[in-house]
């Protein structure tokens, strides 16, 4: 275990990193003792990845110092990090499927390798740490857990003093995860420090000695997770000082406009999430927020709602009582469904095309921008100009390309384009992701006004502050399942945090979390 007051293996002081329009790390301090398993806890977008990339030399900090065993160091690139004694296992593997285990390991190491000797070392290390691997198997024949073992063994062969694990269990079965925990505990006993990144509270409580909590790029607290409850960890992770909603307390709720009924969709790509019996309704005048950690089925749900993925069952989705499960995006749009995708460039807009063309993209049919089969350039331009004016899009002109706009301005343009189509139902993914505060509150107000004028609004976001600010009800998506939507007044942030952390069924598991 950690040896109390010695020199930390790694210490960060005042690490700061800014991206254009966003402060990803704001003076973050972190201390990891030798042999300590240290959790880095935070929501998506809290700044965990940025911080880890700085430690591993992928990014360079704008400000701040890094100390390694008490000495100040610079880590300009991952190669230097490995030399220093830092190893990292990424969430997504970088393996060549058609090559063997040993070949893959050799590729990740610096310099030339004696393959026979390396194969022996792989066997030795993998047996020592309970990570059985056959050095001559081809990677494509391995399970996800085995692939992760390759990455871990690759790090261990370099005798690291600090091992960084980025959400390692997100791809593992519970059994594989338990095995990996044993390995990590053994490494910790041998004096290797581990920086463990996760948002899964149960895991952190079971494994880690210390936890540093980040929120919105800021250092919040350092604590001993074994002394905390899942509830108190969630509170720190999510923050309690949430703004009150800006809209009238209980809006007039009208008839159900969007109804999703037993929606099941199988993912069509690797690492995709299967949607499992999703049920919800959104009424006229209401904003339903769907919270959840990225990669829990949001992308799949959005595609199913927009019509980019069609469901087998027409009745799985209905719009104003009409079954639209098998309709394509354009048919749904003509019935009054508008949609703001998560990815602004390349999904919500064509980056290289002008704003007029991007206005035409989703508006051509509902805004009557066609004239006997030809594009009505005049109407299209008027429509684009209306969007720019009414939604305060800062651009020199509508003949500039979408990718010349800043993120916030492009988002205002896309939201404006959808809102001006007078939708009955609007689905918005991450409405204010990477958007500055002014544009964000403008977009929020726009959505609230839309709901108050009788539309049904569905917002999918990872930003709980945002959901609490604008939603009337909140549901949580986790591993392709959606929790029951609860009125804002009835649900607490802790409950949401637990649901997000994958604790299903609020009953027993919550109790278990309290028993420490």
């Amino acid at each position: 275990m950690n040896n109390g007051g010695g020199t930390p293996q790694l210490e960060l002081r005042g690490i700061t990193k800014a991206y254009p329009g966003c402060l990803a790390n704001d003076h973050i301090d972190l201390k990891i003792m030798p042999g300590e398993i240290h959790a880095l806890l935070g929501e998506n977008g809290a700044g965990k990845s940025t911080l880890v990339k700085i430690i591993y030399g992928v990014l360079e900090a704008d400000e701040g110092e890094i100390f390694w065993a008490g000495n100040p160091v610079k880590i300009p690139n991952p190669h230097a990090a490995r030399k220093t004694g830092i190893g990292m296992v990424f969430q997504h593997f970088s393996l060549f499927e058609a090559m063997t285990v040993t070949e893959n390991i050799a590729l990740g190491m610096s310099g030339r390798q004696d393959m026979a000797k390396l194969a022996r070392e792989v066997v030795e290390v993998s047996n020592n740490y309970g990570l059985p691997l056959e050095p001559h198997r081809q990677v494509h024949t391995l399970s996800v857990g085995e692939k992760q073992r390759i990455e871990i063994v690759r790090c261990l062969l370099q005798n690291p003093k600090l091992l960084i694990m980025d959400e390692p269990t997100s791809v593992l079965t519970p059994q594989e995860a338990e095995k990996m925990f044993e390995t990590l505990r053994r490494l910790s006993d041998e004096g290797v420090s581990i920086l463990y990144i996760s948002h899964k509270l149960d895991e952190i409580k079971a494994l880690c000695h210390k936890a540093t909590i980040l929120r919105g790029g800021k250092y919040i607290n350092e604590c001993d997770p074994t002394q905390e409850t899942a509830k108190s960890l969630a509170e720190m992770m999510i923050g309690t000082n949430l703004h009150a909603p800006e809209h009238s307390a209980q809006p007039e709720k009208g008839p159900v406009r969007l109804k999703v009924n037993n929606l099941n969709i199988d993912a069509d790509i690797e690492f995709g999430v299967n949607l499992n019996t999703i049920n919800f309704e959104v009424r006229s005048g209401e904003i339903l927020g769907i919270a959840g950690v990225a990669g829990n089925g949001q992308i799949e749900l959005l595609a199913a709602l927009s019509g980019e993925t069609r469901s087998k069952d027409a009745s799985a989705i209905s719009l104003d009582g009409k079954e639209i499960g098998q309709f394509g995006p354009n048919q749904r749009r003509n019935l009054g469904l508008a949609f703001v995708p998560e990815d602004r460039l390349g999904h919500g807009s064509v980056p290289e095309m002008m704003l007029t063309e991007n206005a035409f993209l989703s508006g051509y049919s509902r805004m009557s921008l066609m004239n006997n089969g030809f594009i009505n350039k005049g109407n299209t331009e008027n429509y684009a100009v209306d969007i720019v004016k009414q939604f305060d899009v800062r651009t020199p002109g509508v003949n500039h390309t979408a990718n010349s706009l800043s993120g916030g301005n492009l988002q205002k343009f896309i939201v404006g384009r959808e809102v001006l189509q007078k939708p009955n139902v609007i689905i918005v993914a991450h409405p204010t992701w990477g958007v500055d505060a002014g544009a964000a509150s403008f977009i929020h107000q726009t959505l609230i006004n839309l709901a108050e004028n009788g539309a049904a609004v569905l917002v999918i976001s990872q930003d709980l502050d945002e959901l609490f600010a604008i939603s009337n009800r909140i549901a949580v998506i986790s591993e392709g399942r959606l929790s029951v939507g609860r009125e804002l007044s009835e649900i607490t942030i802790e409950e949401i945090g637990l649901l997000m952390g994958g604790t299903h069924g609020m009953g027993e598991k919550t109790e278990a979390a309290h028993v420490t």
């Binding site: 300009p76 690139n77 190669h79 230097a80 030399k83 927009s306 019509g307 980019e308 394509g328 995006p329 354009n330 048919q331 749009r333 949609f339 995708p341 990815d343 390349g346 999904h347 919500g348 807009s349 064509v350 980056p351 290289e352 095309m353 063309e357 035409f360 993209l361 989703s362 051509y364 066609m370 089969g373 030809f374 594009i375 350039k377």
Partner: protein
């Protein structure tokens, strides 16, 4: 790696249109070197290549004769390229178009209806489109790479032509030469200017340029092609079907290439022979890119490439240069064009800060 290639954050729009000219200049420079190595006076060679072929009105009209199939094929291909559909089998579609279009005359040689020629043109379009439908089917159904399938079908089409022309289609009165009988007047493309070989196909090519221009600039289909090519996910979001665009662009390219092949057979060649095209279908790929995938650009690029065919012949006759010079020349144009395009969008950087570790 010492050299690093990185994407430019912003690239010059003007350069995109200047690159064809820069590429041409570089090609001329490189060919001067090439002629020097071949022991030919470069100035004389360039004159023979680019100026001599345009001396007389007849030779000028020949430029359009050669450009016609290039324009037709390249217009079709460019639509696909805009949509990221990489049909490189225009040569095969051209051949099948020529075969299917000619079949009407071969099996009904006595017909002298005025509807014969229009019917043959339509048949040619259908034949080319049907040939292009094969890669479209495999692409949309099995996600088979259209580059491979369309290219392989070129050789199938050429061999099929060979079978026909050495067998059932051989002219009984043709002394066993592998040629069909010459087309009757009602199966011939009308000549536009007396005394030249410029034929009705050139008008069809100009019509294709105009039609494609309108389609890309003003219609929903053209818009869909551009969106699917540039941002397929945005296309899906707008409800545009990628499969539909794959089918459409391939069928369109096939039909135009088919007409190109038939207009050669029924125009300048006047009979079906084992070799219909000196690679127009492949040169059209260069033409499409040299013309920046824009119909008007393609028109001018076709004229230029047609000139290299004529120039190659003149240089062969007057200077004794091998006719392969044409191919070399066309290859250099494409090479320099692609190289310039890379430099417009990317830049090279020397990576010196390697040893700043420890």
């Amino acid at each position: 790696m010492l050299l690093k290639i990185e994407k430019r954050s912003e690239y010059s729009k003007a350069m995109v249109y200047l690159t064809p000219i820069i590429a041409l200049a570089l090609t001329v420079l490189a060919s001067i070197l090439l002629f020097e190595l071949l022991g030919v006076n470069p100035i004389e060679a360039l004159y023979q290549f680019f100026v001599a072929p345009l001396d007389t009105q007849y030779e000028f009209s020949e430029l359009f004769v050669k450009a016609t199939p290039l324009i037709l094929c390249a217009i079709g291909l460019s639509l696909g390229f805009r949509a990221n559909v990489w049909n490189i089998g225009a040569e095969g579609q051209l051949t099948m178009g020529a075969i299917v279009g000619s079949s009407l005359f071969i099996y009904f040689p006595e017909t002298d209806s005025i509807f014969l020629l229009p019917a043959m043109i339509i048949m040619a379009a259908i034949g080319g489109a049907a040939w292009a439908a094969i890669p479209a089917f495999f692409k949309t159904r099995f996600n088979a790479n259209e580059i491979l399938t369309s290219l392989m079908l070129v050789y199938v089409a050429l061999l099929f032509l060979s079978v026909l022309i050495h067998g059932p289609w051989r002219d009984p009165a043709g002394f066993n030469f592998p040629e069909s009988q010459t087309f009757s007047e009602s199966a011939d493309m009308p000549i536009l200017i007396a005394g030249t070989r410029m034929h009705f196909g050139t008008l069809l090519a100009l019509l294709a340029v105009f039609g494609a221009w309108i389609m890309m600039a003003r219609t929903l289909i053209g818009f869909q092609v551009k969106v699917i090519g540039e941002a397929p996910r945005a296309g899906g979001y707008a409800g545009f079907s990628q499969k539909k665009i794959i089918w459409l662009t391939l069928l369109f390219a096939g039909a135009l290439s088919g007409i190109a092949g038939f207009s050669e057979v029924s125009g300048p060649i006047d009979q079906v022979v084992p070799s219909i095209s000196p690679g127009y279908g492949f040169t059209a790929i260069i033409v499409a890119f040299l013309g920046r995938l824009h119909p008007v650009g393609i028109f001018f690029a076709s004229l230029l490439m047609a000139l290299t065919y004529l120039g190659g012949e003149t240089a062969q006759i007057n200077l004794g240069l091998p006719v392969a010079v044409t191919g070399v020349f066309q290859g250099m144009v494409l090479f320099f064009l692609l190289a310039c395009d890379v430099l417009v969008h990317y830049r090279f950087r020397l990576n010196i800060s390697r040893k700043a570790t420890s």
